[in-house]
Structure formats: C-alpha cells, structure tokens
Amino acid sequence: MNIQTPDYRYHTLVVTVENKSGVLARVASLFARRAFNIESLAVAPTDDDLFSRITVVVDLESAPLDQILKQLDKLVNVVEIRELHPGYAVERELMLVTVSAEPDRRDEIVEHLDRAGGKVLSVGTDRMMLSLVGLPARVDEFEDLLRPYGIVELQRTGRVALATLEDNDGPGR
C-alpha cells in the first residue's frame, strides 16, 4: 500500500478483492458507513478468476486518503490496494450514448465524433447511437457537445485505470 500526499481532490484506487459474492456490497457499504464519497466505480473479474478488480475514484473532500486506504484494507476480502497517482496512470472511460439526430444534423455530430475519436454504432431514422472511449475529462467534453442535440439515453462505465509502464518516463494520460 503506497500512501501518497494527496494533492488532487479525486484519487483513483485499484482494489484487488476476492471474487466472492457480496464483496462489492462490502466495499460499497464501507464507503457509505464511513461517509466516504465515491466519484466513480468500476468492477470486473481479472485474468485470475479468484480475484476481481475494482477501480474506484474517491473524493478526498469527504475523508483523508489515509483513512480510506486503511479502512478498505481492513476488509478481509480486500487483497491489495494500489493508489494510482493521477499523473502516473492511464485512465479510460467508455460512454455509450443515443442522441437525437435528424438527417440534416448528422454530419455535424459525426464531425464532433471524429474529432473526439468515437464511433457510430447504429443509425436510426432520427437518432444515432455513438460510443467513445477516452480520458474521463474528454468524455465529459464530448457529452457537453452532444447535449444541445438532445441526449436520449446515456451510459458511462466509470473510469478504469492502469499504472503507466515503469519504463515510460513521462506521465501517462
């Protein structure tokens, strides 16, 4: 467990937990019980099916990072916690969005999408379904761009993250 001086409000923790039923509930209930705020949460099994990996972004205005790490570590099913320093992590988030798109506005939307690096998944008579994978901040921006067109339905995954490679000397983004 690597405790760093918190100089950002949101920190990303990668929590390796035993892949057992109820473990996500334990983590979530700990956050609720101790009044720690979660900004985003993503969970899925790892390559080893004994363990799952939770990527959680915590809000340090609600509690000091040190307490959050130590309380999490007390959960018996929590095997390892890594704090990903914002400057040294590769973070991505996936957004699926259905947006109102009358035929005469589609080109505009596709132009935004291309610039952001997203994909058109499906086109209907007056709607389009798009996907975008990117830095959470870029996904935010794209969401803002789409809003005037009319967002019909939207789902974001919450961020997932990996540490930058050790031999990569620059901060990863």
């Binding site: 937990v17 035993e18 039923s21 109820g22 509930a25 334990r26 209930s29 700990l30 019980r33 000091p64 040190d66 307490q67 130590k70 309380q71 570590d73 007390k74 959960l75 018996v76 099913n77 929590v78 095997v79 390892e80």
Partner: protein, 580 residues
C-alpha cells in the same frame, strides 16, 4: 489422511470442539435445529438463554474474562436480529466472539421465507468479518477462519450464517467429507504484529526528552495480554499511567504511578495530567471522544506516541508524532528493551510529579457525605462492595451512572476483573456478561453492578443463571430513574425532566428476583449495606439480587460537559474553590 463421511451439522459441532470451545450460549429454533441434535453428544456445554441478546453478551463476558473467544449460536431471522446488539458491542470494544446463526435453506434465500433475514447484510458493518456458508464441505474451513479472524490482529466479532439444508441430515446437500487437514484461505487478511525497531528508537527518544509524559492506556493492553509489560515500562521510566474505562485493571489502581480513569467522568488528576502533558504514550487506545472531550482542545501541548495493532486507528483522530504499528505487547517489550539498554534519559520530572500529587490531594474522588435522613449514597454502596469482596472479584456493569461510579470507586488491582460496555454503551450488558464470566470462572466471585433501567432490559437471564446453576450476584443501584439522562437534564436542560422517571415501587425487585429463583434482598438504610453484602457473599447455590434504594439526586462527578474541552472539567461543588 483420515476422512469421515458426515453431515454438515455434526461437522459444525466437531469444528467447534476442535477450536477448543468448551461452552457456548444459545437458543435453538427452526433453521438451526439440525445443529442442536449433535450438541447432545458433544463435549461442549450449551447454556440455554432466555433471549438471544443474552447469549451474545454472555459470550462477550466469557471472552473478556478469559481472553478466549466466546461462542453463541442462535437461529435465523428474529434471533439473528436479537444478537445484532452484542455483535456491535463486541465490534466497538474489540471482543473476540464467534456467532453462529441459522439461515433458511439455500434455495429459499431471497424469497422472504419464514424467519428469513439478510443476516450477513445487516451485520456487515458491525462484524470484523462475516460468512454465509453455502456448501456443507466449506463448514470446517469457515469455522477455522472465523476463529482465526476473531482472535488475531485487533480482535472482534465474526458471524457465520449457516443455511439449514447444509446441516440437515435429511437433506442430501448436508453430506460432506470430514478431514482433519483443513487450512484457512484468507489472502486479504495479514495483521501486522511485529514492530519496526526504527520507530521504537524514535519513540524512546521522545520519552527521554519529555518533561511531562503520561502513559495513556486503553483496552488493547488487555486484549494483547500486555499488563505485565506495561507495569515494567511504567516502573522502568517512572511515568504515570491513566487507565481508560476499557483498561481498568490493566495497571493496578493501588500502584503509586496509577492516576486512574481519564475522560468525561475521569478523575481530576488523570484528566488534567493528559491535558497538561507534553507527551502522551497511547498504548492500545483509540482517542475515543469520551476520553478526548472536544478534540481541538485535547492535550494541546502533547506530542503523541501511538502504539496500535489496527492501522486504521493510527491518525484517525489525532495524528501521532511516532506511530508504532503492531502488537502492543511486543511494542512495549521493545520499548522496555530499548530504554533499559540505552537509558531512560535524565530529564528532571520532579516538578511534574509534585504537580500530579498536588492535584491528587486537592481533587480526590469524593461525594457529599451522607447525613441522617438522606437516601442511601450509591458511591457508599460501591465502597462497601469493594471492601467486602475478594480482590479477584470480577465486576461487570451496565451503562450509565452506576457504571461510572463502579469504575471510579472500585479498586482494580488485577487485569480482567472489570467487564463493561464502553464503545457502544449497551444498557443491560451487566447481567449476561456476569453470567459469561462466572461460567468461565465458577470458583471466583462475580458481581454485576447494575442500574434499574439496565436491569429491566436483560433481567430474564437471571432465570438462565438459576436454572444453569451460575450463581452470580447483582448489586442493583436503584434510583427509580434513568439516572445518567436525568443528570444531563438537571445540568443542561434546566431541570426539565423528560421521560426519565421509571417508578418508585414497580417492579418489586425482591419479588422479581425471587420469582426467578434468586435470593432477593432490599436495602434502604446505610447500616444494612455491609450485612446485606456479607449475606450475599455467603450464598453460592443461586444468584442473589440486592435492591439498593439509592439517592436519585446523586450525580457523577467530575464531568466534562459534552462539547467542552477537558480543561473545563467540572468538579463536585465542594471542590470548586480549590486552586487548579
């Protein structure tokens, strides 16, 4: 490797036997019924309680007194919810207990079946860990893991929820193969006990340089069996000791270096020594709000050494200057070795010592003397009880005024003689806890000091005590009120008494005690106190209840008002003119 085919119920009982369980407290019901059958043939003594809360507190009392895990077993649904309070109590006070609850069959889970409740969900945040076992084959390993978690690191309660189908021999899902070779599998659980020599040296440096050090000792000392090590450290360094409510007895009250209890109702010297200290050496203590008072005014000039097994306690409330993570007994032993080898320093602490003894002289624990016509003083009852019982008497208490007086006026010279509910403050704790302690030590005297409010919450367990031949004694300090609440209303709510008067004469405690098979005695007059206690001490074939009718106007002093700093400690009126 020896293997044997059996059902999950038998395997559960055998797993408990293998953990060395000699006694368990419980009450059967539908879902746990199959596990009660093999109890008939087991070496484990089962004590049938009258309410599941009693089973949990008895397990706690047993664990407090012995250091070994207490075990309780109850059925599903309402039984599980009834034992929630003891689980939370044990969680707050780090008491090692293992609670086994029945659950509806695995196929019925989630269907709102009869007596189903989400026991592991409900108890998640008040257990150190809990398990829902879904396969009979997993029972032995889970029991082993439960005991391991409950008793290692910072001790605490562990709950094991057992669905009926995996223990019922009539159900094929209960079939399993017993093997003696079971290993625990807890990759995320590795409490750190060893201490870092580097921080020990840093702590020793602070101790050597301190002019006004205080050893602030919490319940962790008792959990770590560190009382002897603590005494060595105190005597080697000549540093005075305060013992918190959870640590009373961890250092002898009769020792010259003992300052007694700190906190909201601590004595003046203990509270003020901490306030004025330049170094608090916190050992197995967690800076509870009842100890610190208003935090921003707590021990403002003190550096902090914090020795603690639970990493999350370090820095939770007050940031330490030196943190010693690990088993507190090992930490103290390492400190003693370091200080013995490299010296305890040569700071002159005479001025500090004379300050301490001056406070002790001017502000002893005291109450207004009784004058003829006054009702009986509760403090006097406790002094008589203290003086009229053997030194190794185990005292339990409920929660409220009687608890504070017992902690203040008793003289605790041995560890594990004081058992109470500190963190959760559970009214009704004393009688079942006393039963648990008496079961562990049938040859020792066990007195439950109780209040009338508390007594009415768990008195039915005296039936258990009578029937199971567990002759505890109860000193009921009966002031007809919820006394501590009454005290707050008197002091902070302009004497507007709201819902604190219980009744002058209902129930009749003597008759109630007798109806439960106990000897009941009523005492109104100070002159009868000693003889009543002597009489109770002679009775060893059944429980005794003495209904002491005490003064409802009597208040617990000293007191730090809620929200005030410890420097604003209120002493009793007759000490208020003393110079601080």
């Amino acid at each position: 490797m020896a293997t044997e085919q059996m059902d999950g119920g038998r395997a559960l009982i055998r797993a408990l036997e293998n953990e060395g369980v000699e006694v368990m407290f419980g009450l059967p019901g539908g879902a746990i019924l199959p596990v009660y059958d093999p109890i008939i043939d087991s070496s484990i003594r089962h004590i049938l309680v009258r309410h599941e809360q009693g089973a949990g507190h008895m397990a706690e009392g047993y664990a407090h007194a012995t250091g070994r895990p207490g075990v309780a077993m109850v059925t599903s649904g309402p039984a599980a919810t009834n034992i929630v309070t003891p689980l939370c109590d044990a969680y707050m006070d780090s008491v090692p207990i293992v609670v086994i609850t029945g659950q509806v069959p695995t196929g019925a889970i989630g269907t709102d079946a009869f007596q189903e409740c989400d026991t592991t969900g409900i108890t998640q945040s008040i257990t150190k860990h809990n398990f829902l076992v879904t396969e009979a084959q997993d029972i032995p390993r889970t029991i082993k893991e439960a005991f391991h978690i409950a008793t290692t690191g910072r001790p605490g309660p562990v709950l094991v929820d057992i669905p009926k189908d995996i223990v019922d021999p009539l159900n094929p899902r209960s079939a399993m193969t017993w093997t003696d070779d079971v290993t625990i599998d807890l990759p995320g659980y590795n409490p750190q006990t060893e201490v870092d020599p580097e921080v020990i040296r840093a702590a020793a440096e602070l101790i050597r340089a301190s002019e006004r050090p205080v050893l602030y000792v919490g319940g962790g000392i008792l959990k770590a069996r560190a009382a002897d090590a603590l005494r060595e450290l105190a005597e080697l360094t000549g540093i005075s000791v305060v013992t918190t409510l959870m640590a009373r007895g961890a250092f002898p009250d009769s020792h010259d270096l003992c300052l007694g209890m700190p906190g909201m109702h601590g004595n003046f010297t203990a509270v003020t020594a901490m306030q004025e200290s330049d170094l608090l050496i916190a050992l197995g203590a967690r800076f509870d709000d009842r100890v610190t008072g208003r935090l921003d005014g707590f021990a403002p000039g003190a550096k902090i050494i914090h020795a603690e097994i639970d990493p999350a306690e370090i820095g939770k409330v007050r940031r330490p200057d030196v943190a010693i993570l690990g088993d507190v007994r090992l930490a103290i032993e390492a400190l003693v070795a370091e200080l013995a080898t490299n010296g305890t320093g040569d700071v002159d602490r005479d001025a500090w010592r004379s300050k301490l003894s001056g406070w002790q002289e001017r502000f002893p624990l005291a109450y207004e003397p009784w004058v003829p016509g006054d009702p009986l003083k509760p403090q006097y009852v406790l002094e008589c009880l203290r003086d009229g019982t053997p030194d190794d008497t185990i005292v339990t208490s409920g929660v409220g005024q009687h608890q504070m007086w017992a902690s203040q006026y008793w003289k605790f010279d041995y560890p594990y003689t004081w058992i109470n509910s500190g963190g959760l403050g559970t009214m009704g704790f004393s009688i079942p806890a006393a039963i648990g302690a008496k079961v562990a030590f049938p040859d020792r005297m066990v007195w439950a000091v109780d209040g009338d409010g508390c007594f009415q919450m768990t008195a039915q367990e005296l039936v258990t005590a009578t029937v199971e031949n567990i002759p505890i004694k109860v000193a009921l300090l009966n002031n007809s009120h919820l006394g501590m609440v009454r005290q707050w209303q008197e002091m902070f709510y302009e004497e507007r008494y709201s819902e604190v008067f219980l009744s002058k004469d209902v129930p009749d405690y003597k008759m109630w005690a007798e109806s439960m098979g106990c000897v009941g005695i009523r005492v109104d007059d100070p002159e009868e106190v000693e003889s009543a206690i002597a009489m109770a001490n002679e009775i060893d074939d059944r429980p005794v209840v003495i209904d002491f009718r005490v003064d409802a106007a009597e208040k617990v002093y000293p007191m730090v008002p809620s929200g005030a700093t410890n420097s604003e400690l209120m002493v009793p009126p007759f000490q208020q003119d003393q110079p601080r």
